[in-house]
């Protein structure tokens, strides 16, 4: 009887340990996180629509129905990445996520130069290099210093009504996500 009680208490203690271990391992081994879903949908440095409007099921769920969104994956180990989108939309916002989907930095059209989306994501070390000799065409860009290697850049744009759909779609489809030489 005493050894049964002993085994039960040991089991409960073990359950506590397993609970904590599993909890911390879920983010490490998840194959359903945003990065993995995007990786199945497209390659690095390719803007991919997240909403269902572009056809098929939404890649990443829970996007506001009055919003269109696009995302691209990047690896700062290859160099710095520049995201640009032409045209005017009523509202856009952008976020940089790390490999595990944590929001590192976000900004919106009021933070940008003339409301244009032109951002460069780079590591602090690359920032030091770029500052030494800032290229002419990067003068107006927003610099996002992120202490990460792999990451996701997401652009969200507001669709106030039906008539804005083509304009906002074009805004996202013409947006570029490219490796930048410096």
């Amino acid at each position: 009887m005493r050894s049964l009680l002993h085994a039960l208490i040991l089991g409960l203690l073990g359950a506590g340990i397993v609970h904590i271990v599993v909890l911390f391992l879920v983010p490490e081994f998840s194959e359903r996180d945003a990065w993995s879903r995007l990786a199945m949908a497209s390659d690095l440095y390719r803007m991919t629509r997240l909403d269902a409007e572009a056809g098929g099921a939404p890649v990443v769920k829970s996007v506001d129905p009055l919003f269109y969104a696009a995302a691209c994956r990047f690896d700062l180990g290859d160099g710095l990445v520049r995201i640009r989108a032409p045209g005017d939309v009523p509202f856009w916002s952008a976020s940089v996520y790390d490999r595990n989907g944590h929001n590192i930095y976000s900004f919106n059209d009021h933070n940008a130069n003339g409301g244009k989306l032109d951002a460069v994501v780079l590591t602090p070390a690359q920032m030091i290099d770029v500052r030494r000799d800032l290229p002419e065409d990067l003068q107006g860009a927003i610099f996002v210093e992120a202490p990460i290697e792999e990451g996701i850049f997401v652009v969200r744009a507001f669709v106030p009504d039906e008539s804005w759909k083509p304009i906002v779609s074009r805004f996202l489809e013409q947006s570029g996500c490219e490796l930048q030489d410096y």
Binding site: P27, V60, K61, G101
Partner: protein
């Protein structure tokens, strides 16, 4: 000897079974740590940031969420009306009151997975603040239901559980200091199609 082996197996079974199940249960529960409740509305300002607790980090990884950043906006979810009853798709509701400062807001009716409900009609089950009619005191009255209503009408349909998702964009309340004296609209049940 055999007794020892059975007891060891028992403790291992309890440890792995209970440990695994409790994580699964905690990750599926809608409520969580770090929630902010205003009336019937709940928001998780820290979800998806590095400051989040381990449970929301695991949930973010498991569900593939890309949460809104602070400069983007903050989403509130309601699953009950002001009387404390769960929201139902077959019922009509009135959402009335003032809204906190934001560039604009959107409101939509959602299903269990917080995606917009499919009404099967061209009209979307969503409204935004640029298109709503306002009262003289700048508050907004929204009628929710499957029948058209004068003023602001949010179309719903079908049956089952329903959630309202109210998202404020480019708003000072997204930084947690702004959340102290925010009031959000009330959700009143107007009637049900039994």
């Amino acid at each position: 000897m055999l007794k020892n082996a059975i007891l060891t197996l028992l403790s291992l079974a309890i440890a792995i079974g209970l440990g695994g199940y409790s994580v699964w249960y905690a990750l599926n529960a809608q409520d969580g740590v770090g929630a902010i409740r205003i009336g019937q509305w709940t928001a998780f300002p820290e979800v998806g940031t590095l400051a989040a607790d381990p449970y929301s980090k695991a949930r973010v990884a498991r569900e593939g969420v890309l949460a809104l950043g602070q400069a983007e906006g903050l989403a509130f979810v309601a699953e009950r009306d002001d009387a404390g009853e769960p929201l139902k798709r077959e019922c009509a509701y009135t959402i009335e009151g003032g809204y906190p400062t934001a560039r604009f807001w959107t409101l939509y009716a959602a299903d269990q997975s917080l995606g917009v409900i499919d009404t099967g009609k061209p009209r979307q089950s969503a409204l935004q603040s640029y298109e709503v009619l306002r009262q003289p005191d700048n508050s907004v009255v929204i009628s929710v239901g499957s029948r058209p209503a004068p003023g602001n009408w949010l179309l719903t349909g079908g049956s089952g559980r329903m959630y309202f998702v109210l998202t404020f964009y480019d708003t000072p309340i997204a930084s947690s200091t702004g959340l102290s004296d925010v009031t959000l609209p009330r959700i009143l049940k107007a009637g049900c199609n039994a």
